[in-house]
């Protein structure tokens, strides 16, 4: 089981440095999702936690453009089953919820995941999802798969946190010149 959540933030000297961190953490999903962007729906709630770390690079041309598809009703990300994790510079927020919940120890689980740019859902060029135990120096033992869904969300599976202790869930996003990470710390109990 997972106890609570703890927001953690990383500071990258330049956003592109994140490009090199993805392979470092190996066991993660890298979903190349260059297809059509997600339909714009009702504006998602702004993240409750605003970035407070190092000054963030402001995404410029990397800011994705919303797609003009039929509006899709977004989940209510303010409910307790959702966790919202801002990226390092606040360029995006990862809203995610696990199944089963809470995340079990040493059993497979999946995530429903939304990448929100200014509250709008997007599919990005590449989304990497992985887990890492900083105290142990290792990550997950399997590669994660992230699948872009037509409603603008992602379905992430093959996740398994095989040991109890402190884990980081890591979300790496590449979109244009934006290379940025969001991290969420959790305790597997």
């Amino acid at each position: 089981m997972i106890r609570g959540t703890m927001l953690r933030r990383i500071s990258l000297p330049v956003a592109l440095a994140a490009l090199f961190l993805v392979p470092l953490f190996g066991p993660g999903a890298l979903c190349s999702c260059g297809g059509p962007a997600a339909p714009a729906g009702e504006p998602a709630r702004a993240p409750t936690e605003s970035p407070t770390g190092s000054p963030a690079a402001t995404p410029t041309d990397a800011t994705p453009t919303p797609a003009a598809e039929a509006p899709v009703a977004l989940p209510d990300f303010s409910t307790p089953d959702w966790t919202r994790t801002p990226s390092a510079t606040g360029a995006f927020v990862v809203a995610w919820r696990p199944t089963p919940a809470p995340i079990p120890r040493n059993e497979e689980f999946t995530l429903e995941l939304w990448l929100l740019f200014d509250g709008q859902p997007r599919h990005v060029s590449q989304l990497g999802v992985s887990g890492w135990m900083p105290d142990h120096g290792h990550g997950m033992l399997r590669s994660v798969r992230a699948e872009a869904r037509p409603d603008g969300s992602y379905h992430v599976d093959n996740l398994l946190l095989h040991m109890r202790g402190h884990w980081l869930l890591i979300f790496d996003v590449l979109e244009g010149s934006l290379a940025e990470r969001a991290e969420h710390g959790l305790e597997v109990r």
Binding site: G26, P27, R105, N106, D135, H136, G137, H138, G139, M140, L141, R142, S143, V144, R145, N158, H162, M163, R164, G165, R189
Partner: protein, 415 residues
């Protein structure tokens, strides 16, 4: 006098007052649940398959010279291992024999995880020249030539394949195209190869159905946890004060729980525990195991899996070739660990005391071989080491029904 001594001991060695968080963890370690289902083996809960598998398990005729059975290395009276540092089949083996206690709960099999189902694991030693040294065709011939086996097999799996005109021994021998077994295998038409392999696979599924019954779940530790859960001091007395202190160390300061987690005291995965290795030191462990698993025609992704390979494709497909770097070996269960000496993948340690001393001091430890940083000097006192051993001894329960300790009267069930 005796009463006085007992009171004195009780006064000097009180049970441990576990903190709420410690209690929460201890409650997670018992009871042992039923092993998860294996969707690749439709016969794993079939009593008739288990009966056939039990007969096969103890049958040394399933070897090249009639001297080796599964029970040669997995001796019931030796807690389903062999008491040897390294295994011995027809020849010396390079790794220590793993116990079969609660084996069906595993996610991967062998020290390197080169098998992903119990039935496929059971087949590997049969065709390994250093273990049983036989071939799949010879095994199927054994079944066909024995009326009891023939009946048992037919009742569970249907008719055996027609073996008329086939050689006595034949099997695929990867990487050895000129091997006599491979040359003989080449003489079989593809459909006959398929039929023989399918019958061979069924042998594995029957043996797995038997091995699923080798379960230990009634150790003193389980009674202790039951007492803890119920708030019953009498139940908690199933563990001596020393073993209770050992339990506290196990889940705390000694870091054992990092890897030996859950009711079977294993995370089912692979780690570099830095044990001393021989001069060669060349066993790559999991790294090679994954490559072998992927290349294995009998892995769970293929047509011999009863779920059509669905489970295996996901499970094997998600594996990472070299997740931590380094030489990783599977975390073994600690159920009945006091009965399964020696320890580690090369039988490096003769006693539990040696194991605990190693983790406490890291004397002779191998350097970290990858990125994982789990193993650190614990600096346990002699008393703490003794407490840990006492706790490990409390995981002992060998109370399997005696009828499972040998071959059944018949390989089939009289109806």
């Amino acid at each position: 006098m005796w009463l006085f001594l007992a009171l004195l001991i009780a006064q000097e060695s009180p049970g441990v007052a576990f903190e709420p968080d410690e209690q929460r963890i201890l409650l997670q370690l018992s009871p042992v649940p039923e092993a998860p289902p294996d969707p690749t083996n439709a016969f794993e809960r079939d009593p008739a398959a288990a009966r056939l598998g039990q007969a096969l398990f103890f049958d040394a005729r399933l070897s090249r010279d009639g001297s080796v059975s599964c029970a040669t290395c997995h001796v019931p009276e030796k807690s389903w291992t062999d008491g040897r540092k390294l295994g011995l089949g027809l020849e010396n083996l390079s790794r220590h024999t793993m116990t079969l206690w609660n084996v069906a709960a595993n996610r991967w099999f062998f020290w390197d995880g080169r098998k992903d189902t119990l039935w496929s694991q059971a087949l590997a030693p049969l065709e390994d020249p250093r273990e049983h040294g036989t071939s799949r065709l010879a095994v199927v011939r054994q079944l066909a030539g024995d009326p009891g086996y023939r009946r048992a097999y037919t009742e569970v799996f249907g008719a055996l394949p027609d073996l008329a005109g086939l050689p006595s021994d034949a099997r695929p021998v990867p990487g050895e195209p000129e091997h006599e077994h491979q040359l003989a295998w080449n003489t079989l038409a593809p459909e006959r190869q398929e039929a023989v392999t399918r019958a061979f696979v069924n042998v594995g599924k029957a043996i797995a159905a038997f091995e699923r019954r080798i379960v230990s779940r009634g150790a003193p530790f389980d009674r202790f946890v039951e007492g803890l859960r119920a708030g019953d001091p009498a139940g908690q007395a199933a563990l001596s004060p020393s073993a209770q202190r050992g339990a506290q160390l196990f889940i705390g300061k000694a870091n054992c729980l990092f890897c030996h987690d859950g009711p079977n005291f294993t995370d089912l995965e692979f780690h570099d525990n830095r044990v001393p290795v021989g001069e060669e030191g060349g066993d790559p462990g999991r790294k090679l195991g994954i490559r072998r698993l992927r290349a294995d025609p009998l892995n769970s992704t293929g047509r011999f899996a009863d779920d059509g390979g669905a489970t295996g494709k996901k499970k094997v497909g998600a594996l990472i070739d070299d997740s931590h770097g380094g030489k990783l070996f599977k975390t073994p269960t600690l159920r009945n660990v006091a009965r399964t000496a020696p320890y580690m993948h090369e039988g490096q340690f003769a006693t539990l005391a040696e194991v605990v001393h190693f983790y406490s001091t890291l004397e002779g430890a191998s350097p970290e071989s990858g990125s994982e940083r789990l193993i650190r000097v614990l600096g346990l006192s002699d008393a703490e080491q003794a407490d840990l051993v006492a706790f490990l001894e409390s995981l002992t329960d060998e109370s399997l029904p005696p009828e499972l300790h040998g071959p059944p009267a018949t390989p089939y069930i009289e109806r």
